[in-house]
């Protein structure tokens, strides 16, 4: 397949209470392997997926949050966080993981591809995508 599409993954669920966040992440990794342009959007309780310091030893579940930090290596270029969702939850960008990105060919790099955006921009980004995945 030579087609390349702009894929947007809309994440609106907290981690652990349900599996949607984790299994959604599996699709992100596969989509990146298919060389699609992959972006992630975190809205509502989805912003909780990115909190630092998750420790699941007490509940016997696998901590899948380290995977988010590796997404830059899978050529995911954009991770957007809805500002209103973040603020309503009393969180700031400092509470979230940072995700580095580097283009191996051009050596262009970005310290953190996690970007907080306002509602209008969220709506725009969703509408500019070719496919929106919801889980």
């Amino acid at each position: 397949m030579s087609d390349t599409k702009n894929f947007m993954f809309l994440n609106r669920r907290a981690p652990y209470g349900t599996i949607y966040a984790w299994e959604s992440l599996e699709v992100v990794l596969i989509a990146a392997a298919f060389e699609q342009n992959v972006s992630l959007m975190f809205v509502d309780d989805g912003v909780y997926e990115l909190t630092k310091g998750q420790d699941t030893t007490g509940i016997g579940m696998k901590n899948f949050s380290p995977t988010y930090r590796t997404l830059g290596d899978y050529e995911v270029r954009h991770m957007y966080v809805d500002k209103a969702s973040l603020e309503a939850r009393g969180l700031t960008a400092d509470d979230l993981v940072q995700v580095e990105w580097e283009d191996w060919e051009t050596e262009e790099s970005v310290d953190n591809i996690v970007e907080v955006v306002d509602s209008d921009r969220v709506a725009e980004l969703l509408e500019e995508s070719d496919v929106v995945f919801s889980f």
């Binding site: 809309l10 609106r12 809205v43 509502d44 709506a123 969703l126 509408e127 929106v132 919801s134």
Partner: protein, 102 residues
């Protein structure tokens, strides 16, 4: 061109409709189905969520789901259009893509 947004949860139980309305652009089409149809009712505490957007966004409700829940069509907010499954298919075709607010 524009997107079709689908909402299948009751606005009294979950925040899906609220987020959909906040994060969809003017000109969008919005389809309420399954328990989402309750958002289309007149005279509820959340009536204004839909009533205040019908000028900017085109709102649809899935008739079979609405009827299943025992509600009369006369109670649907003005400006909201009833469609069947074939109409749902047409909406998917007529818009650029679908955003599901599951």
């Amino acid at each position: 061109m524009s997107d079709l947004h689908t909402v299948n949860k009751s606005p009294f139980e979950k925040n899906s409709l609220e987020s959909c309305l906040r994060l969809s652009k003017a000109g969008s089409a919005i389809l309420l189905y399954e328990d989402g149809v309750y958002g289309a009712l007149k005279g509820t505490a959340v009536e204004n969520m839909i009533a205040s957007v019908v000028a900017d966004k085109k709102v649809y409700v899935l008739g079979p789901d609405y009827k299943a829940r025992g509600l009369d069509e006369s109670r649907i907010i003005d400006g909201v259009e009833v469609v069947d499954y074939a109409g749902f298919v047409d909406l998917v075709e007529a818009n650029d893509k679908v955003q599901a607010w599951v």
